[in-house]
Amino acid sequence: MKKISGLIFTLFLNINIVLAENNLKVDITDLWISEAPPTISVLVAYVTLKNNSEIPVSLTSISCSLFSSIEIHRSIVKNDIASMERHPTLEIPSKSTIKLSPGDYHLMLFNPKTPLKIGDAPVFIFSFSDGTQIPVTAAIRKRSNSTY
């Protein structure tokens, strides 16, 4: 009897977790900060955002206590000139995925309060246009060497 009630409880718990996950409109995965020399005052982070809902949703702000501010930027290389444009928000169309990746959209992390190293796990808060706030832990990674 104890085994059956334990099984029912586990099933109930699992169903609840699945329901909670399904309620999330946006999945935020693979958030990582590129390791950089300790003297650098602007770092970069990349992330994948998946909008599971039927309506578009916009990323309106990102915060992390380790940085003075965080902005959404896009790198552009045109006629051999590299520049960046700032995007105050980033819209994720319904049922779509946007990958922020090297040489494209990225998060600019200004004035780190402490140098970050591999193994650190800072928590970022992603805020969306529907009022949702999602905390996500970032990994610190060494940049891949061979391409962009």
């Binding site: 950089a36 003297t39 005052s41 051999d80 000139i81 590299a82 990225h106 391409t147």
Partner: protein, 201 residues
């Protein structure tokens, strides 16, 4: 007789030029070469990441890959430097006379200490340069690097060239490698360029 000599010399020069052009055309990778009239880099005076004078003497006799950027650039510059770290690691086992130079286009914020920490992070052999564009024959001026400050606040951005410039051991600006940069592509291009230049010399 004199006319014949001039004619023969002219024909010889034409054939040599034609052969050079044919070799260039046959070699698809080397087509981006500034050849047959590469710009010769004149002597210049800048400071490296150890506060030492850096000029023609430090470059002649070596193949130099030169990239212009700034340390507060979080995306394109570190990507390019990471690619160049891979290129250098792979080329240096085969060729000793290679150097990677990062020239800051933001000397106001890129202090010697910052520049040193930055270039050493990618490879201890990399060279960081403070090159004052106002100086006569500055490297930035000679190569003709475009850059633009978007000075809205202290975290300002700088638009800058994303290309890598290759200067040969005779101080000739032989090519510009345009983005997107991939290490294997750069290595292949370099080997083809070096082979071509060696045959020309």
């Amino acid at each position: 007789m004199a006319v014949l000599v001039i004619l023969a010399a002219g024909t010889g020069f034409y054939i040599s030029l034609k052969q050079s052009q044919n070799r260039l055309e046959q070699n698809a990778v080397a087509q981006g070469l500034f050849w047959p009239n590469p710009k010769r880099i004149k002597d210049f005076s800048s400071e490296d990441h150890n506060d030492k004078v850096f000029g023609l003497n430090q470059m002649s006799g070596k193949w130099s890959f030169v990239f212009f950027g700034y340390t507060n650039c979080p995306d394109i510059c570190p990507i390019t430097m990471s690619v160049m770290a891979d290129v250098y690691q792979k080329l240096v086992v085969e060729f000793e006379d290679i150097q990677i130079i990062f020239v800051t286009v933001d000397p106001e914020r890129d202090t010697t200490n910052k520049l040193s920490s930055y270039v050493s992070y990618f490879n201890k052999d990399f060279i960081g340069l403070h090159d004052e564009p106002k100086n006569e024959n500055s490297l930035i001026g000679q190569i003709g690097i475009a850059y633009y400050y978007n000075k809205e606040n202290e975290n300002y951005l700088v638009d800058h060239s994303a290309s890598i410039f290759v200067i040969d051991p005779k101080m000739r600006l032989v090519t510009k490698l345009s983005p997107p940069h991939q290490s294997e592509k750069i290595i292949d291009q370099f080997k083809n360029i070096k082979r071509f230049i060696d045959e020309e010399n």
